[in-house]
């Protein structure tokens, strides 16, 4: 089978089951329960990004902390949008890209990273 990319086919493949309002409500309620269950872990990841941004500003960011922050940002980028937090995914993805090099980013962008981490935290905390 020729590989295809589902992002392109998603809109084309909408069906009755996906547009069933009762099913959508049921799924939404179940997702809210999962969000509540995983919130402590997600908050912990957001904390790690804030800590990494602060360490970069203070010139104390270790390689291990940078790699961990990169991994956590990658996880958040995949997770937040799944819980309908699209802006959260965008911010996490930007953080991930800025931390994706072999070396730490210049500490001149520490303020920007801190702002990203703060906004991410706000988004996480404000989801009901």
């Amino acid at each position: 089978m020729t590989p295809s990319f589902a992002m392109k086919t998603a809109a084309q493949s909408a069906s009755a089951s996906a547009s069933d309002p009762a099913k959508a409500r049921e799924l939404s309620a179940a997702l809210d329960l999962l969000w509540t269950r995983f919130l402590p872990e997600i908050r912990q990841r957001a904390d790690q990004l804030e800590d990494a941004a602060a360490a970069l500003a203070a010139n104390t960011l270790s390689t291990a902390q940078r790699e961990a922050a990169h991994h956590v940002a990658h996880n958040l980028a995949g997770t937040l949008g799944t819980f309908n937090l699209t802006r959260g995914t965008e911010l996490a993805r930007e953080f991930e890209l800025l931390f994706s090099g072999e070396v730490a980013p210049a500490n001149t962008i520490a303020g920007h990273l801190a702002a990203i981490a703060r906004e991410l935290r706000t988004i996480v905390d404000s989801r009901k």
């Binding site: 998603a10 493949s13 996906a18 959508a24 799924l27 997702l31 949008g81």
Partner: protein
């Protein structure tokens, strides 16, 4: 008989959301595994209709797991869809070149995930 899907992902939240989505929206049976090694064993044991396989996992990652699935005659023909949060074009090309049926992207929409899979695999 409902479709049976194996989800292999080390992230608990993603695994559970995907499972919830496929079970509640499509009524599919879902089996899960939290690592590549566990996924290989579950694939042999459960013989799913398709496998949703995360790319970035510690230990055996998605591409390595996929290669092992293809090596084993018991799992070689099971369709595999990679699941990734990587959005760079070079990564996407690399994944497509592996020979998987498709690459799905995180974040996914829980409401349409089953339809995406069905569409890609030509399921009605």
């Amino acid at each position: 008989m409902p479709r049976k899907i194996l989800i292999i992902d080390d992230e608990d939240d993603i695994r559970e959301v995907a499972a919830l989505s496929l079970e509640s929206v499509a009524g599919w049976e879902v089996v899960t595994a939290s690592s590549g090694a566990q996924g290989l064993a579950r694939a042999v044991e459960h013989q799913p209709d398709a496998i949703l396989l995360d790319v970035m996992m510690p230990g055996m990652d998605g591409p390595s797991t996929f290669r092992e699935l293809r090596k084993n005659p018991a799992t070689a023909k099971i369709p595999v869809l990679l699941l990734t949060a990587k959005v760079q074009t070079s990564d996407q090309r690399r994944f497509a070149d592996l020979g998987v049926e498709s690459v799905l992207f995180k974040p996914f929409d829980p409401l349409t995930l089953a339809n995406e899979i069905s569409g890609v695999l030509g399921w009605k």
